[in-house]
């Protein structure tokens, strides 16, 4: 079978997301679709899946043009999609998630869950996708959740399988396992479209590669014909330095010391379980780990947003365990939060208001309880200039900026203070290469100026490139303290999965 996209064009207000894109996917073949964040990959796939309607262009399956009004039509046409953010209902069982939308029923719409569970079991044993059909989805690990997503697609007898950034949540070992699964699917005659911004992976798994940049297909190639460097240049449009440029660190005194802390999450489950670590001035310490191993709660605890159940945190020797966010950041700690739209910014506030979001209560931005908005505007204007935030005005709300510029507003606010420690969670998630390079550069400059830096990221490549010292977090504890220049990604991956190399 063959799937063709011809001349697909999609415009959003002010943005041309897809510009006459042509692509072909065939049975028994893996097509790698490479592009950086914001290149238009997800938009393209949403059009293919019927979630968006293209402004122009055709979708042709086996020579026949198809029109999708919604995902139902795309599913009908044999297209299945594993989304970057899983589309699973957390409180449902695995089986309920799999059958949703195509429920096997008796009379009067009563579901036959026994039959459904049997079918789920059949698919899972056929393709080596082991799951417990009765498990509640939110209780199973992300790696298994991904299997549920694949079973969902296969349950609908899809012939064209689209994977959108499927490896983002997996350890290197799980990635290997996952590659084995999709090779198996390819050999079983399915057509696979593998969307990613990771060069290594696209070279490893694809039979053919298409590169998307600024909404256009800028080239076709195969893994045999190309190299990482060439692909990177194609993807970004200019030569890219794949490594973070930095000198050897010269760590000084201990700034942050964490001693045997326990932390609970929002659902009252203990997720940080007796963790200890140290960060020194002038070094970048990275924490690698699979999402959901307590990193979020650790960062929230360190920045005062979540209380520690027990244990202690010292900042320059001072016990700050019971300090709130203000106590922490007034002691010279900058925090780049994981979810910038939910935490780091008030999206409806102007850039000026966001710039003073955590310093508004001190001069020069206020005298007593009266705000000085002129001083705030002056500071905002200066920082927007200094940190290269692209905006027509400092009086527009933060939600009218692009993701990269929103992150720059946060970086501007946090780095412009007199800080001794920077705690950054997923600092470059979802950003384009230009913004990533800029933020990495800022972090390295801060380190060289003697600031202690703690980076928490699920992007293993990023923490390995940026850190001077690499910690691996698994099940709420630090399980390894490594030198990133001396260790292989495979070994780090084993630690991330709770094993020892």
């Amino acid at each position: 079978m063959e799937l063709q996209l011809r001349g697909i064009t999609k415009r959003f207000p002010g943005v041309l997301a897809n510009d006459s894109v042509d692509l072909t996917a065939r049975s028994g073949e893996i097509l790698g679709l490479l592009g950086e964040n914001g290149a238009g990959k997800t938009t393209l796939m949403n059009i293919l899946y019927g979630l968006y309607t293209a402004d122009e262009g055709q979708i042709i399956i086996d020579g026949q043009e198809r029109h999708f009004e919604g995902p139902g039509d795309a599913i009908e046409a044999g297209i299945g999609m594993v989304h970057q953010h899983f589309m699973l209902v957390p409180v449902f069982t695995v089986t309920e998630n799999v059958v949703l939308g195509v429920e096997p029923t008796n009379f009067a719409g009563i579901m036959d869950m026994k039959e459904a569970a049997r079918e789920v079991h059949e698919i899972s044993s056929k393709y080596g996708l082991e799951v417990d059909p009765e498990a509640i989805t939110e209780d199973i690990p992300v790696g298994i959740q991904q299997r549920v997503e694949i079973i969902k697609v296969l349950f609908r007898e899809a012939e064209f399988l689209v994977f959108d950034e499927p490896t983002a949540v997996l350890t290197p070992q799980e990635v290997e396992e996952f590659f084995g699964i999709i090779r198996g699917l390819r050999d079983a005659g399915k057509a696979i479209i593998f969307i990613t911004h990771k060069l290594k992976e696209v070279l490893k798994i694809s039979d053919r590669i298409a590169v998307l940049r600024d909404g256009k297909v800028v080239g076709h190639t195969t893994p045999a014909e190309t190299t990482q460097e060439a692909l990177a240049e194609m993807m970004v449009g200019r030569p890219v330095d794949l490594l973070v440029a930095k000198d050897v660190a010269s760590p000084k005194e201990v700034v942050l010391r964490v001693d045997d802390v326990f932390v609970t999450d929002t659902r009252d489950q203990i997720t940080v379980k007796g963790l200890s670590l140290e960060v020194k001035a002038g070094e970048i310490v990275g924490i690698a780990g699979i999402q959901g191993n307590g990193q979020t709660e650790l960062v929230e605890m360190l920045t005062g947003m979540r209380p520690a159940a027990s244990g202690a945190v010292y900042l320059n020797g001072e016990d700050v365990t019971d300090e709130g966010p203000r106590g922490i950041h007034s002691r010279g700690v900058a925090h780049i939060p994981e979810d910038r739209q939910r935490r780091g910014l008030v999206m409806n506030f102007t850039i000026t208001e966001n710039i003073v979001l955590n310093t508004y209560y001190d001069p020069p931005y206020s005298k007593g309880i009266v705000m000085d908005w002129d001083a705030a505007a002056a500071a905002a204007a200066k920082l927007v200039e200094l940190f290269d935030v692209r905006t027509p005005s400092i009086s527009i709300p933060a939600n009218s900026l692009s993701g990269g510029n929103q992150q720059k507003v946060i970086v501007a606010r946090e780095f412009s203070r007199d800080v001794k420690l920077i705690i950054a969670a997923q600092p470059t998630r979802g950003l384009d290469v230009g913004s990533i390079e800029y933020i990495h550069g800022r972090i390295v400059r801060a380190r060289d100026a003697g600031v202690a830096i703690l980076i928490v990221s699920t992007e293993l490549d990023e923490v390995m490139a940026l850190s001077d010292r690499l910690l691996v977090m698994f099940d709420g504890k630090i399980v390894a303290d490594l030198d990133p220049t001396q260790v292989s990604a495979t070994d780090v991956g084993l630690y991330m999965a709770g094993a020892t190399p």
Binding site: V89, G101, E103, S310
Partner: protein, 423 residues
């Protein structure tokens, strides 16, 4: 801060421990309260006689429940004290809410024996009244369950009840009582449709739409009542449906009278709870509805129509609330008064939260509220020294305590109240 033990099998989190401690202290305070007010307060007052059958019942010779008021309360106080002690020392693990329910039940009984010490009163009558009064609340709560399971918050239940009652009386008296019920259901559907269009299509804040619908219905029904109904009594008097005695079942002493000598609204409500429970958890419709309420994007990507299910369930919820409105007329008094629903819709909403968005839970909560209403009616007859205003407040105070999480934190559908935006 409580240290967290690493070895224990079931690890209690700090929040759980805190709540367990609060509960333990509450039980002990209740023990002292019962001991002093109900126990010491009824010394020498004699026995309380709770009648379990009515003179018209088939087995009218069935014995009454006679409790020595003071002694009973002393026993209850002792029981509370020991339960509190156990709660504080080792806790009840998974049985915590069961114990809480038992404590509340005995508290109420202790209160009743105190109030009725040396007198006798018809407990069966009060329970029959409880069921009746819980019906509009339960129907309001079911309406809420239907729409909130698909993430549409329905504050307009009050307006749907009131609008339903108004139309039920007009159509019921001008045409036929059954047509009145039907028209009330349609009125609920129309108001549900307004809510749905505003919330789903125009993405107006759902709470605001609900408040506005309530204001609108209150204004319009009051306006028309003054302008038309007051001068035209032929539009304001519908036949009230009689109680239907279910053969055999209605002969069971006490329970037969309470549950099986009621009018059609009661039976329909109980049936509705059963159907909804089964439907939500065992049918295609239920699975899809819950998916739409928990994770609309996931449902959408699987070809489930998010808007379709939101419309469908909000309209069904409107129908249920409209039917609840008809209860005030054909099920109860037959006449319309301005603002006659008097906050029942909001109590229904609280019952839905209390019942954790589950039909059976919501019905149980509605029965608790119905009991509180029946009790305050009964107590004025018993002439207790408690001012009637305080009894009037009781259900509202209970509601606040409930939503503040005494019974543990409830988890609403994840997308509740959020409009779904298709790009």
């Amino acid at each position: 801060m409580t240290a967290v033990s690493k070895t224990q099998e079931h690890v209690f989190t700090p929040a759980e421990l805190k709540r367990a401690r609060y509960l333990g202290i509450t039980y002990i305070v209740l023990a002292l309260f019962v001991l002093w007010f109900f126990g010491v307060g009824s010394i020498g007052e004699g026995d309380a006689t709770l009648k379990l059958v009515k003179p018209t019942d088939r087995f009218k010779e069935f014995p009454n429940l006679v409790l020595p008021a003071a002694i009973f309360s002393f026993v209850v106080a002792a029981m509370f004290a020991s339960l509190g002690a156990i709660q504080l020392t080792r806790g009840f693990k998974n049985m915590g809410n069961v114990v809480l329910a038992i404590v509340l039940l005995f508290f109420v009984f202790s209160f009743l024996t105190w109030a009725a010490a040396g007198k006798s009163f018809s407990f069966v009558g009060m329970m029959q009244e409880t069921v009746k009064r819980s019906i509009p609340i339960a129907l309001g709560a079911m309406s809420g369950v239907l729409s909130e399971r698909v993430a549409v918050i329905n504050i307009a239940i009050e307006g749907q009840l009131l609008g339903g009652a108004f139309v039920a009386v007009v159509v019921g008296s001008a045409v036929h009582p059954w047509m009145g019920v039907l028209a009330a259901i349609l009125t609920g559907v129309v108001l549900g449709w307004v809510l749905a269009v505003m919330a789903i299509r125009y993405r107006v804040d759902q709470i605001i739409v609900g408040v506005v619908i309530n204001l609108f219905v209150l204004g319009l029904t009051s306006f028309i009542t003054q302008r038309i109904l007051n001068d035209n009594p032929q539009f304001n008097g519908s036949e009230v449906f009689r109680a239907i005695e279910i053969p055999l079942l209605s002969d069971i002493p006490f329970f037969g009278t309470v549950l099986f000598k009621q009018n059609i609204f009661v039976y329909v409500t109980f049936a509705l709870v059963a159907v909804l429970t089964y439907g939500l958890f065992h049918t295609k419709w239920g699975l899809r509805s819950r998916a739409v309420g928990e994770h609309p994007k996931a449902a959408d990507t699987l070809g489930v129509s998010v808007y379709g299910y939101r419309y469908l369930n909000t309209l069904m919820g409107g129908a249920v609330a409209g039917f609840g409105g008809a209860y005030f007329i054909q099920g109860s008094v037959g006449q319309f008064d301005e603002n006659m629903t008097n906050g029942r819709g909001f109590i229904g909403l609280a019952a839905m939260i209390f019942g954790r968005w589950h039909p059976v839970g919501a019905l149980s909560a509605a029965l608790v509220f119905g009991f509180a209403e029946a009790l305050s009616g009964k107590l004025s007859i018993l002439q207790t020294p408690i001012p009637s205003e305080f009894l009037g407040m009781a259900p509202y105070i209970v509601t606040i305590v409930v939503v503040a999480g005494l019974v543990g934190k409830a988890r609403p559908p994840a997308a509740d109240g959020q409009p779904y935006i298709k790009d």
